[in-house]
Subunit: 411 residues, 2 copies
């Protein structure tokens, strides 16, 4: 399926996510761009399903994003249509017509209002998406709806992803088993200024749309909003969470409900695992890097510094070369424009201190550090020594693979 | 000399810059990092030479930058010492000691005060620079001072540059021939938040330090501050301009002097040509790209959008692949966070309109656009249709060469 070699950081196995009452789905091959693979996902939600979402802050968001933004206000969902291979972004009036037509076709197939249909498109920007491709496909797809296996929708939404991304959590609330299933796709144009390109989460938990929205936005911040592959923010970033409410427990109506914290933590776990998958399947990635910044004047300042390090091509190429080049980390701290005192900086790779008090540590161990850099999962910590602010941003290395993938993606 | 293949964008010939009265120089092989090439430059200026400078805004600037910042206040220069191979950045107290020792050695060799010595170091960050390497070298170098050829200092300051960068202008003021000679080095860690890593300009024009400073800062904005190779800002960015004042004309004492405009324009030409050289020798570069943004709400807004486009790895890899992927340009406009209206956007590659009114142009010519993309010098124009703001940022493509160069630079 993948045009490029599977990421060396791909998981060995995929979780077998359980069925969730109130949602069914099917995938299809519409041949939008890819051949011999599924590229359309149709999900149907039972009546009563609520929805929350976080969308790209790109000033040039796609027609599908605009559509979701408008419909999220209603808080109700009956259907989700996702296609891969064409982002239907920057396609003008034709793009908006295409979105509406697709929503009409889906609403017809599922028997609901178009305002209850959510749409996402991912792939090439600027090519008009022909909605007529969906007409037969969605009707036919609607006849094959099932509730497992969840790996199928995860596969249908892939673009340059080299493996499908799934994560699930099962928790108990009021003695009832609650499920949260999530899928996501990456894997370039990832500097979410909300999320990866696309991620969808479904739960059977009964919860008010407003509470779901607050939890989703909160935990998005430390998951999808804390990753970067290449500093480029997509026009189509979409994270949607659907709650079918089928679990036989009292609904969470607000965050005052103590169960919101428990549910939120499980949701956070799912979002975080999906976000990490996106990093680990970053285009060309061979290493995952967690960039920790501590001792900043504020958490926001720490985040901006961590982002500057994680976005730096020089830091990322050094990591690809297994070079503990902490000088480039200093450079990135310096360019972030945030408060920093060169002479208080300390830098660690894993547990190995390479620099402190603004210069190379006296006990710096080149051999041990070089050995550490050969690992697949690296932690890089910068201590600023100024305050209590801290943040972590997750990224991958920058390799020849990224250039190869992106030098000839469209053509 | 260069460890990497010479940039395909290198000039066929180098200008033979004239001698400038009041300045002499020599280079030497100190073996700081590189073998069998010069890595130290000593320049001596006659008494009366004034100096202006623009330095990195990195929060982690190098010891040499701090030294220059302090000495610029005096406005007088007698010597310049530049070494390549070690940036002496983030080297703590040892770094500061090393800078002072080097200045003392140079001041001794040239017979001036240490406050009149300017220093710049470029190369690896974080490795202490051993000032004792300079002691014999500078004394010996001082015995070989000459006034040409200017290609020698340009060579001595190179790091991963694949060719020396020189530019000169000769203009007539009050019937007297005035020269402006400049050299620069790049070629990664280039998103100057003032300048490329290092550039030095010398003129025989008599001009007050304050007027020179104003002109330098102004024209730096549209030259070095308008280029980017990889969005990474150096800790050592240093642009210094020295005016020996030896030309027999009345000095420019302030910008009210109408000759300041004429001199400033020639200075601007030199700075611009040097900046373009840095882009054309950007690590791994195979194409030069001028990113023009027009119709923005302000010049500043246009600059930030142009910078976002020029810094985008996805735009730059597409250009490397000769792909007119204007969708990625839209993405970059969208992520800049500046006012933009998707449905008013127009995009041109060269003179070829690929998108207008927020969608692919009806008369878009794929064959002609693809042919255009095969060129070495590309213009990419985004019209926002919002106001009169405009700006241009110069960059290069992002290729396998960049990854190769930076994956094993330090080791």
């Amino acid at each position: 399926m993948a045009a490029h070699p599977v990421s060396p950081l791909a998981p060995k196995t995929y979780p077998d996510l359980p069925a969730i009452a109130g949602v069914r789905f099917a995938t299809a091959e519409a041949g939008i761009k890819y051949k011999n693979r599924t590229d359309v996902l149709l999900m149907a939600f039972d009546e009563g399903t609520v929805v929350a979402g976080v969308l790209t802050r790109s000033k040039c968001s796609s027609a599908a994003v605009d559509w979701c933004r408008a419909n999220l206000a209603g808080g109700k969902a009956r259907g989700l249509v996702v296609n891969s291979g064409n982002a239907n972004a920057f396609t003008g009036l034709k793009g908006r017509d295409s979105v509406r037509q697709t929503a009409e076709i889906a609403a017809g197939a599922l028997g609901c209002r178009i305002e209850e249909i959510f749409l996402a498109s991912t792939g090439v920007i600027g090519e008009p998406l022909d909605a007529s491709k969906f007409s037969g496909v969605l009707d036919e797809t609607a006849t094959r709806m099932a509730d497992t296996p969840w790996i199928e929708p995860a596969k249908a939404i892939m673009t340059t992803d080299t493996y499908p991304k799934l994560s699930g959590a099962v928790l108990e609330i009021d003695g009832v088993e609650i499920s949260i299933n999530g899928i996501a796709k990456g894997s370039g144009m990832i500097a979410p200024d909300m999320a990866t390109m696309l991620s969808f989460v479904v739960t059977d938990m009964p919860i008010a749309a407003s509470a779901l929205q607050t939890l989703l936005a909160r935990h998005n911040q430390t998951s999808f909003n804390s990753i970067t592959v290449d500093s480029d923010t997509s026009t189509s970033d979409t994270l949607l969470a659907f709650a079918t409410g089928k679990a036989p427990v009292e609904p969470i109506l607000s965050l005052d409900d103590p169960r919101a914290e428990i549910f939120g933590q499980a949701l956070s776990d799912v979002l975080f695992e999906l976000a990490i998958h996106v990093v680990r399947d970053g285009e060309g990635a061979t290493k995952q890097v967690s960039v920790h910044v501590e001792g900043a004047v504020s958490d926001e300042s720490a985040f901006r510094i961590a982002k500057a390090i994680a976005d730096s091509p020089l830091v990322k190429t050094a990591i690809a070369g297994e070079d503990a080049n902490w000088g480039r980390v200093v450079m990135a701290v310096g360019k972030a424009g945030e408060p920093a005192d060169r002479d208080r900086l300390a830098i660690r790779f894993g547990d190995l201190t390479v620099a402190r008090d603004g210069e190379r540590a006296a006990f710096y161990d080149e051999a041990a550090t070089s050995a550490y850099m050969k690992g697949e999962d690296l932690d890089l910590t910068v201590s600023l020594g100024l305050g209590d602010g801290k943040a972590t941003v997750y990224t991958c290395d920058l390799t020849h693979g990224y250039i190869t993938i992106n030098g000839d993606y469209r053509s």
